[in-house]
Every structure is written in structure tokens, then in C-alpha cells.
Symmetry: C2
DNA sequence: TCTAAAAAGCTAACCGTTAGTGTTACGGTC
DNA sequence: GACCGTAACACTAACGGTTAGCTTTTTAGA
């Protein structure tokens, strides 16, 4: 896939990184709302159109790890050890993601996000996309061609667990509490915990 | 509360209604993206600033029932018969809301929403607000000063039930399926079904 | 009738985003 | 090594949602 990047792709990645770094630095210095796109572009020494060819919106500059999150969720399902059940695998992953986001260095970034309505809104719709991908992965794990409402619901519950726990006073404890609920919800669908390929309507 | 509206408030409400009606008509006729705010204002014979004093954004024109939804959820908790448990009350309300949204007349509106990324995004963040209000109501019902992660999670599950069911092939069936999961999730928190005032950590 | 305040209006801009159109730099091929 | 197709980047100018600043109209209440 990405064996030998080549000069071209290296330059592209460098440009992208430079834009993201510049943006986060300016946002941290003077606030998200107070910094305009034209400023970010100028400071990163690129054209505005270039910025938008790397990032689909101003908010996307802040959520650079967007696709990482999405793929981590999906892989938690597809790449888990074959003996492991679905929900515990997702619980492990959410634990890790919450730990990552509540680490000391990440705090100011998430505070900025919480303070900006635009960023909060973007994050919500991002999570919604993630939930859809996860639902598809869960459906595939059950040999279903497409997600049933049950799959979609569980996927959303998992993503909700992340959002709620991240804002809780005791994030890790919250993850465990919510996953006890998810485990119970999952059990009631008819899928047996340790084995795969059960039916979920 | 709203006993004698008075001329002033009646006129204000009329202006608001005229704007909303005009907007929905134009959107239906030519598509959401193809109609600009300035057009809506002109057709409704008001100034753009007046439009924005009634609606906080272009998307808000489409989700006029925003506050209705929010209050219905909250009241499903606070105004339920005292013998009824929390989750069944919410199930009834979600059933009614889904029925309302999937009625024949409402179909074109929701198709328009599904086709516009901006509207979908707005809807998601709206639901998130509703979930927060619901979480607060649930917490109050349990005599908690503020929502615990458990309350927030259940509130989100309920709102998710609406979103998932609305897009499902068999909406009403989907509501029942998802609420079986929510019931199980709720049972595991330690709150006993028929009585109130149990503990949820 | 007079007044204070709410509601509506107008103008002009701000800012994110995109279309249209070049220009440069790179990768694969002869 | 020169060549060509294409991906990356740049520039200009605009579009469309949104808001600030300020004026005018309308209404409730004294």
C-alpha cells in the first residue's frame, strides 16, 4: 500500500502536516474563532485553495485524526483475536481512545473544542460517520449484507460511550459503566457472547 | 404561560410562520441548496436580519419543530403517570415521534433532509442537544443534581433509537427492537423498572 | 397622547468555501 | 536523458450564510 512514498507523496504529506501544525498553533495562540482561514494559509505559506484540497473544512483542521478513529473502530472488530467476543474488543478500543484523548497533552485541544459550537457540531457529525462505518463492520462480522437497525444501534451506543466518557469526571470508570449497559443490550439481541456468526435479526 | 398573546406577540408569531412557510415552500419547489437566504427573505417580504432574528440559521428553517421534539422527550419523563416506569414511557413517545415523521405527508421533507449534508449535520447536533436535556430530566427523576454518565448514555440511546428507526425499512419494528436493548441496558444500572428513586451510581 | 422598548428594516461588510484557470513539479515511459 | 500526462499548488474573483451598526416603525402601558 504505502511502501515507498516517493518524493511527490512525501511533499504532499509535508504540506498537509505544515498546514495542520500551523493551524493548531494559531488556534492555540489566539483562539479558534479569532483565526481566519486566510491567515492560516498565509502563515503556512500556501494558497487557500491548497488548504482546502487537504482539508474539507476549517473544522477538519482540528480533527486531523478523524480517519484514524474511524479505522481503529473498524479494526477493533475485524482484526480482533478470533476467540474474542465483539463487545469486549470494542470496550478495549474505546478505553484506549479515551485514555488517549484525556492525556495531559491533549487537554487544551479538547477544551478548545468544547468551547466552540462549530467544532462540537463537527465532532458530532464525525462520530455519526464513524458509527455508520462501525455498523457496517459489525454487520459484516455477522455475515449480514448490510447493517440492521440492531447493528446500527449498537454501533451508536459504542460511539456514544466514547463521547459521554470523554466528558465525564472519571472517564475510564464511565467507559466500564456504559459498556456494562452495552453488553446487556447486546446480549438481548440473540448474539451469543463468545462465538461469532449468531443471528441479530 | 401563553394565555393572552397580545397583538405584538401575535404579529411576531405570524411573521415567524410566514418565513417558515415561505422557506419550506421554496425549498420544496427548487431544492434546499438552490434557494438562498436572500430569496427566502424577499419572498416572505421581510429583511434578512429579521429572518435571522427568528431563526438562528438557514438549517433551523427546516427544523422548526426543534423545541417541540425536545419538550416532548422531557415531558415524556416528567409528565408520565406515576405508576409507569421510565423506559416504557420513553418508548411510547419515540413510537409516536417516529410515526409522526414517517407519515405520508412528511416524507418529502425528510427526503430533502437526507439529501443535504448540511441538514443532516444540523439534525445530528440538534439530537445531541435533545439528549442532553433528556439526560437532565432523567437525572432529576432519580433525584440526582446532575446527569451521571449512566443517565447521559441512556438519554443518547433513546435519541439514537429515534434516528436509527426513522431511517429503517420498518420503523416501528425497529423502535421495539432497539428499546428491548435499552430496557436491558437500563436494568443493568440498578434502577428497578416499576418504582422510581432507585440508584444509578 | 406620549414614551420606552420591541420589532423590523437597510447597508455594508466578514468569512468560509468554491469555480475557473493557470503554472509547476514529479513519476513513469520511450 | 528528454517527454508527457497528471497531481499538486497558486491566483483571482466570486458566492452565500451570517452579523454589526444604525435607523425607522410599531406597540404596550402610563
Amino acid at each position: 500500500m504505502t511502501e515507498q512514498p516517493g518524493r511527490r507523496e512525501r511533499k504532499k504529506a509535508a504540506t498537509r502536516q505544515k498546514i495542520a501544525d500551523t493551524a493548531l498553533r494559531l488556534f492555540a495562540e489566539r483562539g479558534y474563532d479569532a483565526v481566519g482561514i486566510r491567515e492560516v494559509a498565509a502563515e503556512a505559506d500556501v494558497a487557500v485553495t491548497t488548504l482546502f484540497s487537504h482539508f474539507s473544512s476549517k473544522e477538519a483542521l482540528v480533527f486531523e485524526q478523524d480517519e484514524d478513529f474511524e479505522q481503529r473502530l473498524v479494526r477493533a472488530v475485524t482484526d480482533r483475536p478470533s476467540h474474542e467476543a465483539l463487545v469486549p474488543a470494542l470496550r478495549r478500543e474505546i478505553h484506549a481512545m479515551v485514555r488517549h484523548c484525556t492525556a495531559d497533552g491533549a487537554a487544551p485541544l479538547w477544551r478548545m473544542i468544547e468551547e466552540s459550537p462549530a467544532l462540537r457540531q463537527y465532532e458530532e457529525s464525525m462520530r455519526q460517520r464513524h458509527a455508520q462505518s462501525l455498523a457496517t463492520a459489525i454487520a459484516a462480522d455477522l455475515d449480514l449484507p448490510q447493517p440492521t437497525p440492531t447493528c446500527s444501534a449498537i454501533a451508536r451506543f459504542v460511539v456514544d460511550a466514547f463521547s459521554v466518557a470523554r466528558e465525564a469526571d472519571a472517564p475510564q470508570t464511565a467507559v466500564d459503566q456504559i459498556f456494562r449497559m452495552i453488553e446487556a443490550a447486546w446480549a438481548v439481541t440473540g448474539a451469543t457472547p463468545p462465538t461469532r456468526k449468531s443471528v441479530a435479526v
